[in-house]
Amino acid sequence: MSAKKLTQLALLTAAALIIHTLEALLPALAPVPGIKLGLANIVTLFALYWIGPWEAALVTLARVLLGGMFGGSVSGLIYSLAGSALSLSVMLPLKKIVPPGYMFLPGILGAAAHNLGQILAAVAVTRTPGLFMYLPVLVFSGCLAGLFTGLAAGALYLRLKRKTDK
């Protein structure tokens, strides 16, 4: 990997980590485990379109692992990993179909998939299939959060594109 790329990825990871940490400080939106804005996904989406799928996956993985370690809750890692894995597997193929102007689309589906992954992991770990009851709520909130992060990532991309194309 070139030095330039390494720096790029490191910067993106750092950005994602900062967003992640700051977001954790916000009070939870609803008393439902797992409802968060997922703002760090802005970086993932952006990296996906700006650089490429592998790099986006790398940055996300690094952010999740480091975020878990810094945040102190190692047990929560499994849920984040599962969520991110499912989210990436949905967003990556979508990049080929959806142009950057419509980034909110993979944003929505990626966020919904992320929450689905988290529930799947939670059910598997706690062995309570009853948790599936949370599915509609989390998928819906995922759609809303994903729309927001997708729009943000899209706006960021277009802004930067204009700047670098000049």
Binding site: P31, A122, Y134
Partner: protein, 124 residues
């Protein structure tokens, strides 16, 4: 061609949001508080009435921590927990049959009767 595919994805997103939205609304119905079940790791560790005339506390100690569950005349809620995010405490009283109170780090779930509530008969 790209345009058609994008429209398809858009349609899927809209559909997903609509379906999950409606489903969420429907699933938030309040439920009868006749009986509740507390499980850890899927194993039932407490089963009983969802309301008690005298406040009753159930302390659940797991390898990862402790939750104190309060059952009073209003219903059941987690009074205190030593998990990092305490979302289980912030959930307040168990209201909906479909959204159990969950403490994920402790793998604790409090839900209404469910499989355990309805009895088919009582032998006496």
């Amino acid at each position: 061609m790209r345009d058609k595919k994008v429209r398809l994805v858009l349609a899927v997103c809209v559909l997903l949001a609509l379906v999950s939205g409606i489903w969420t609304y429907l699933s938030l119905k309040p439920a009868s508080r006749d009986s509740i079940v507390i499980t850890v790791d899927g194993e039932v560790i407490y089963e009983g009435s969802g309301t008690e005339s005298e406040p009753k506390r159930v302390t659940v100690k797991t390898a990862d921590g402790e939750n104190v569950i309060l059952i009073d005349s209003i219903g059941v809620r987690v009074e205190s927990a030593d998990c990092p995010d305490k979302s289980c405490v912030r959930m307040g009283y168990l209201k909906s049959a479909n959204l159990p109170i969950v403490c994920l780090p402790h793998r604790l779930v409090i839900s209404f009767g469910g499989a355990s509530g309805e009895l088919d008969a009582v032998s006496q």
